[in-house]
């Protein structure tokens, strides 16, 4: 086994243990717990929090990918060029709005729970994917595109068979950035009662219990690292297939 894979196994095991058997780590967190308080968070199962956290991230990311990629395709077509500045503005606005502000604004409309968090993550995730997809679609090798036209591929065939596959590594880079940001940002969703790992952190902050904060933070951090790594691997393997560096 290579060193990288060995490390991966260790990190995955650590994460599984933290989520499924948190009590094993009690001695480690003991020193950070105020006297009389519980060492390990036990109000909700960490597994259910993790799954719900990842579920919210996945849902928001899929929506962001669909919207961002479609938008990027639209503005790279000749008839959609006029929409480029507008789309850029919208995508940028999504990024400049702090997610907390989005939560605050969304709660009156969507109520407490997962809704506002989904909206905030979705808006926040669009920009990196949009920008990367657009770069990918507008920096394709000119000779390949010329040949694709010259041998008689229709527009649709060019998009599906040539442009998107060739832009895929860059699109994935955008997705990776977006997803990792979303994993971290989802924690603040718990301030408006979304069921995420943020709940553990917030409970810790409210009761001055540092061991809760550490537990929640550690689990979120490990998820982010592992998912980042997995997406990087996927990207590298696709790049290799394309014969590009």
């Amino acid at each position: 086994m290579s060193r990288a894979n060995f490390l991966r196994v260790i990190v995955v095991s650590l994460l599984l243990a933290l989520v499924l058997r948190p009590e094993w780590f009690a001695p480690m967190f003991e020193p950070f717990t105020p006297p009389g308080a519980a060492v390990i968070y036990d109000r909700t199962s960490l597994l259910s929090l993790s799954l719900s956290h990842l579920g919210i991230v996945a849902l928001a990311s899929v929506a962001a990918i669909v919207v961002a990629v479609l938008l990027a395709i639209l503005v790279t077509r000749p008839q959609g060029k006029a929409f480029l500045p507008l789309s850029r503005t919208i995508a940028n606005m999504g990024q400049t709005f702090p997610p907390v502000a989005v939560l605050a604004l969304a709660v009156p409309m969507l109520g407490f729970g997962a809704g506002p968090t989904l909206v905030a993550l979705f808006l926040y995730g669009i920009l990196p994917i949009f920008e990367n997809t657009m770069t990918g679609l507008s920096t394709l090798p000119p000779a390949t595109m010329e040949a694709a036209r010259g041998i008689g591929l229709s527009r649709r065939q060019r998009l599906l068979q040539v442009e998107l596959p060739l832009a895929l590594p860059l699109i994935l880079t955008g997705v990776r950035l977006s997803v990792v940001i979303a994993i971290g940002t989802a924690t603040i969703g718990s301030t408006v009662a979304a069921h995420t790992l943020g709940e553990v952190i917030i409970a810790g902050l409210l009761t001055n219990n540092t061991s809760y904060v550490l537990q929640g933070g550690l689990i979120v951090g490990l998820f982010a690292v592992l998912i980042y790594d997995a997406l990087t691997q996927l990207e590298a393997s696709i790049r290799k297939r394309l014969g590009v560096k």
Binding site: T144, E146, G150, I151, L153, Q157, P165
Partner: protein, 314 residues
């Protein structure tokens, strides 16, 4: 037969191609030569309608191309370009089979056709079918590009500086290959180049373009011996003209009886090569052989007489 009839392309009020007419006979190579900006690529791209003509018409075997759906037209015309333009995410086999797949050929037929073409280009199918373009050398990539253009047995093959990105040695080999393959398959080729040498070597007909106009269209020998304008003369290159003329003729055309000393040359060799051999070895005559058997000789005197511009080559 491809007829280009009074075709014009105007960009921003200025003609890039100005009322060009020419006829390309089936199973021949026509090379369009010109400097950059002469409109030669635009002319080529109007044939498969990558550029829509402002006026005029192209007919393939009598059928005007303007009436056909663009993509259907392009699938009938092979297209090979500088820098090959292969799909980097597809294997060699998939690249070559691209047009047959678009035309809906069945799998077995495509498989056989791809192997046939790889064999034709001296690339063993077992070794090359499943490779990706990035795993090939420049010369191999270029051959795959031409193979892709030929895959569906098109009525016409368009080539835009197909050898432009190759280094000189590979380039010469690619030109020889193309010539051989064209003769084998009887393809009709319209090729664009900025290199007069290439045009003369490959073309059955050479068309010279300057500032959007077709200034001369004829056999290589006509172009060399009788350039129509200053510009053509300059393209042909004053000093090299006798040598270029010699390169069009083969030794067998001035073969004479008799023997000579030293290394023989093949009857298929050009007079330019024969001259070179004479000069290098300091001989006045060189023995000529056919399939390894001596059949006569060629003399320096005879070569010299054919290099004089006043002789219309036969």
């Amino acid at each position: 037969m491809i007829e280009i009839d009074n075709i014009t392309k105007v960009y921003d009020g200025r003609p890039a191609v100005d009322a060009v007419s020419m006829t390309i006979e089936s199973a021949t190579i026509t090379a369009i030569v010109g400097t950059s900006g002469s409109g030669k690529s635009t002319l080529l791209r109007m044939v498969n309608r990558l550029v829509e003509p402002t006026s005029g018409q192209v007919r393939i075997n009598g059928e005007p191309t303007a009436g056909l759906p663009k993509n259907a037209l392009r699938r009938r015309i092979g297209y090979a370009i500088q820098g090959h333009g292969l799909f980097p995410h597809h294997t060699v086999a998939r690249n070559i089979g691209a047009v047959p797949r678009l035309l809906g050929w069945d799998k077995d037929k495509i498989y056989t056709r791809v192997n046939e073409l790889l064999d034709l280009f001296s690339m063993p199918p077992d070794e090359f079918r499943d490779r990706y373009p990035a795993e090939l050398s420049g010369g191999q990539q270029q051959r795959v590009g031409v193979a892709r253009a030929l895959a569906s047995r098109p009525d016409l093959l368009l080539m835009d500086e197909p050898f432009g990105a190759l280094d000189p040695i590979i380039r010469t080999r690619a030109q020889t290959d193309l010539h051989r393959i064209q003769r084998t398959l009887g393809s009709t080729i319209l090729l664009v180049t900025h290199d007069m040498e290439e045009a003369i070597q490959l073309g059955d007909q050479v068309a010279v373009m300057d500032q959007g106009q077709l200034v001369q269209h004829g056999t290589p020998a006509e172009i060399i011996t009788n350039p129509a304008t200053e510009f053509v003369a300059e393209m042909v290159g004053g000093v090299d003209r006798p040598l270029r003329l010699l390169s069009l003729l083969s030794v067998s055309q001035i073969l004479e009886e008799g023997a000579a000393e030293g290394e023989p040359i093949d009857e298929e060799a050009s007079l330019r090569e024969a001259l070179s051999v004479c000069l290098w070895s300091g001989r006045n005559a060189v023995p000529v052989e056919r399939n390894g058997n001596p059949i006569g000789r060629v003399t320096l005197e005879a070569i010299r007489s054919r290099a004089e511009g006043i002789h219309e080559p036969s």
